[in-house]
């Protein structure tokens, strides 16, 4: 028995929400903004992937007679410079923005988590070199690095994947490394090591599960960055292979009509704003709920 002061909150937290999932559920109950964000994100994702089921127009087929048609009952957000329905293109474009938000983030998480755990667990020279590499990557202004990488690899969506993964693994690696190092000293890990369990097994059995909450937090917080970077990379005109498109590319392409046909440029910008804002709110909520380790 110790003399800790009465802390009911903690007591409750431990009893009701012992698991990460439980705490996330609690967050959705208490944090209305985060809950609403989840709804928005889910709606956007569902709408975009179900698009072929209900879309009245082909997103890629030009219709020269309807060029720059203003918003109307048949075309809610009007038509673009080649007469394609803007709303339909926006919905289809969401897919690429979503994939770009999720895929490189997942890749970089995997890479960062793996390197971070190896670095933290093995220590020594391995740790030194991995962390110096992380320093190097973190020192680059990430957007410029992504631009260089995607320019090096040539346009196209795959190079954007690689570019975005290459710039964002380092932050993850640092956090996971720090956690691994503290977990490594925990009794259950020491016990496992003392009976000769192999390093790889320890990492997968004992360390990885304990890093999951941090990974979830990092994941939600990294997605908006990836989507924003994609839109910035589109500034160079690289990205999805035409005629398919992404939100970033739509802004890039239609910004030129901002003065004459403003809806063309405003709609994809708003879409990014809403989607990314939702992810930011969700990320904050998730971090408030799960974050035992990270401060910033």
């Amino acid at each position: 028995m110790n003399g800790a002061e009465f802390d009911l909150d903690q007591e409750l937290a431990q009893r009701d929400d012992a698991t990460a999932a439980g705490r996330l559920k609690g967050m959705l109950r208490n944090n209305k903004v985060a809950a609403f964000s989840v709804l928005v994100i889910a709606l956007i994702i569902a709408a975009s992937f179900a698009a072929p089921l209900y879309s009245p127009y082909d997103p890629n087929k030009p219709s020269l007679s309807e060029r720059f048609a203003p918003p109307s009952r048949t075309h809610w957000l009007g038509c673009d410079d080649l007469g394609r329905d803007q709303l339909v293109r926006l919905i289809y474009g969401a897919r690429i923005s979503i994939v770009i938000g999720l895929l490189p983030t997942s890749l970089s998480m995997l890479l960062g988590a793996a390197l971070g755990m190896i670095s933290g667990y093995v220590g020594g020279k391995t740790d030194f070199w991995i962390m110096r590499l992380a320093d190097v990557v973190l020192a680059f202004p990430s957007l410029l690095l992504a631009m260089v990488v995607s320019y090096t690899l040539g346009g196209g969506i795959v190079s954007i994947f690689i570019a975005l993964s290459a710039v964002s693994w380092a932050g993850t690696a640092r956090v996971i490394r720090a956690q691994t190092m503290s977990l490594k000293e925990k009794e259950f890990v020491l016990a496992a090591r003392s009976i000769g369990v192999r390093g790889g097994v320890i990492i997968f059995r004992h360390i990885l599960p304990n890093c999951v909450p941090s990974l979830i937090v990092l994941f939600t917080l990294n997605i908006p960055g990836a989507i924003m970077n994609e839109s910035s990379l589109s500034f160079l005109g690289v990205g999805a292979s035409p005629p398919s498109t992404s939100w970033g590319l739509m802004i890039y392409r239609y910004k030129t009509y901002l003065l004459s046909y403003p809806w063309l440029a405003i709609a994809p910008g708003m879409a990014i704003l809403i989607f990314v804002l939702a992810f930011n709110f969700l990320g904050d909520g998730v971090r408030d709920a799960l974050d035992p380790y990270m401060k910033d």
Partner: protein, 540 residues
């Protein structure tokens, strides 16, 4: 103590912007000194203003230098060759020897008098390998040019100084458009002494970039602005304007806002073709459009080395599958004219009688089937990334090809890779526009279809007989038979061989602000032009 310093540092950082704000806010909106300056904008920084070392940035060169012969704009898409620094010239009957009588009393900006040695210096500098000049094409028909370029000669044997004001130029073989090519901005005349002295600073440092032109190179702030000022001692008479400035604005959409906010005087719609319909349809700008015909042709290419483009039936099918009128309407608001060959209307030697290539997707499909592709095939169209107007053209092409069953993938490459692959003859297909450097069919046919050039432009045109005729046509002296030969070649290459898909020529539209009066588009419809002509002035 150290802590205090840190605190102080933070405080200063916070205070700095506030001070700056107070200090700088009360400042005039329009820069003083620009009251009588014509203000342009460009979206690309020149690499240099050395006329011999650039192939694309002539905005300053036109104003600062003069040429032996000048091409002046006489009407929309029309030009005349008039005497420049050469007062007069004689051409020998065999077309091999040109004798130029130079103008006397012309002064360079540094006060030195223009003499024959300057012409000799200019030509030899262009040809010497160590100069790394890029415009050698325009003078390489001169005898001895090849020897200079490969380093075996230090002097140009085909150029002879008769006296200070007379030079004699001998060609290797007759070259019809020689005079016209001397009028291109790349062959501007430099001053021997000052250019030698400037060394690598020539073209970069304004005060060391000396010419005889109507304006003096005044300043160049990188990524911001470059400017020329009036040459009061200009031999044709000082211009009316105090100067001309070019603002470097990377984002063309920003440029348009600057124009509307009155920060620039002339808006070049070529930089933002998407804005054409806005300006042409707006009543506000109806009387502010200055329109010139472009001496240029838009086209799609295909690489004859790549299956199935070796088959003329496929190429013809493609020619018929493109709705060129629709494309012109959609992308350029219909402001232009369809082209059925190579040469744009208005160019010397343009053939009005060329039969029209019809838009006929059904027949195109039939032709494809005949060639063995009833279900179409897949192909790649390349373009340089970050070019929305080319992309729009490509996407329309993509959709039109889909109609005849051909699936087009658009591959956006970066500029360097694109040029490198094209020079290797390996680009599968692309679209582009070619505008005349000088007013002659040679500038078009030789560029694309001469042996070697068809590879460098990724055509790989297989009809060697025609290619060789393109090269041989250069030496024809008689104007009438020259024109006939070029027209025959054009018909054979495009209408029979279907070597490319000609699209259209477009108008070049400038929107000119309230202050400006008398602005003219240069004869070839370029963005850069020689802004020394009657009537150009700024309203007071």
């Amino acid at each position: 103590m150290l802590r205090r310093i840190a605190v102080f540092f933070v405080a200063v950082m916070l205070a700095l912007p506030i001070c700056a704000f107070v200090e700088e806010f009360a400042e005039a909106a329009i820069a003083p000194g620009y009251e009588n300056v014509l203000r342009f904008a460009t979206n690309d920084e020149p690499n240099t203003n050395d006329p011999q070392k650039t192939t694309e940035y002539y905005a300053v060169n036109f104003q600062v230098f003069d040429r032996l012969v000048e091409a002046v704009t006489t009407g929309q898409g029309q030009s005349d060759l008039v005497p420049g620094l050469a007062e007069s010239w004689e051409i020998s009957p065999d077309g091999l020897t040109y004798t130029f009588h130079l103008r006397k009393g012309v002064k360079f900006h540094n006060g030195a008098e223009f003499k024959a040695k300057d012409v000799k210096y200019t030509f030899e500098r262009m040809l010497l390998p160590e100069t790394e000049a890029k415009n050698q094409d325009f003078i390489d028909p001169i005898k001895g040019a090849a020897e200079m370029m490969d380093g075996s000669a230090k002097e140009l044997s085909g150029l002879e100084i008769v006296d200070d004001y007379t030079i004699k130029v001998t060609l290797k073989e007759p070259f019809g458009p020689f005079l016209a090519s001397l009028a291109t901005p790349g062959v501007a005349i430099l001053n021997k002494e000052s250019t030698e002295e400037a060394g690598t600073d020539f073209g970069l440092v304004p005060e060391k970039t000396i010419g005889t032109g109507a304006y003096i190179f005044d300043k160049w702030v990188l990524h911001d602005e470059f400017k020329v000022r009036r040459n009061d001692n200009y031999w044709r008479g000082a211009p009316e304007l105090d100067g001309i400035s070019w603002k470097v604005v990377m984002d063309a959409d920003t440029m348009r806002m600057m124009f509307e906010a009155g920060e620039i005087d002339v808006f070049d719609t070529d930089l933002v073709p998407s804005q054409i319909s806005y300006f042409t349809k707006s009543e506000k700008y109806a009387d502010k459009l200055v329109v010139g015909n472009r001496m240029g042709t838009y086209y799609f290419t295909f690489n004859h080395d790549i299956k199935p483009f070796g088959d003329v039936r496929v190429r013809k099918a493609f020619q018929m599958a493109v709705d060129r009128k629709g494309m012109l309407d959609a992308l350029f608001d219909g402001r232009g004219e369809l082209v059925h060959g190579i040469l744009p209307p208005g160019l010397y030697g343009y053939n009005k009688a060329l039969p029209e290539i019809p838009y006929d997707p059904a027949k195109a499909k039939a032709l494809l089937a005949e060639a063995g592709y009833p279900d179409g095939f897949e192909m790649t169209l390349t373009q340089i990334a970050d070019n929305p107007s080319t992309l729009a053209r490509g996407e329309l092409f993509q959709a039109m090809m889909a109609e005849i069953g051909v699936k087009v993938t658009i591959d956006q490459m970066d500029e360097a890779a694109w040029y490198a692959v094209r020079a290797d003859g390996k680009l599968p297909a692309y679209s582009g526009v070619w505008s005349a450097d000088f007013n002659d069919p040679d500038n078009f046919l030789y560029t694309f279809f001469a042996p070697g050039n068809t590879v460098r432009r990724s055509f790989n045109f297989k009809n060697d007989a025609l290619s060789n005729r393109v090269a041989a046509a250069r030496a024809i002296v008689d104007p009438a038979s020259r024109v006939k030969e070029y027209q025959d070649l054009e018909r054979a290459i495009i209408q029979d061989e279907a070597a490319w898909i000609p699209l259209f020529t477009t108008q070049h539209i400038f929107v000119v602000g309230d202050r400006v009066e008398g602005f003219k588009v240069s004869w070839n419809g370029w963005s850069d032009g020689w802004h020394y002509y009657e009537g150009l002035r700024i309203k007071k």
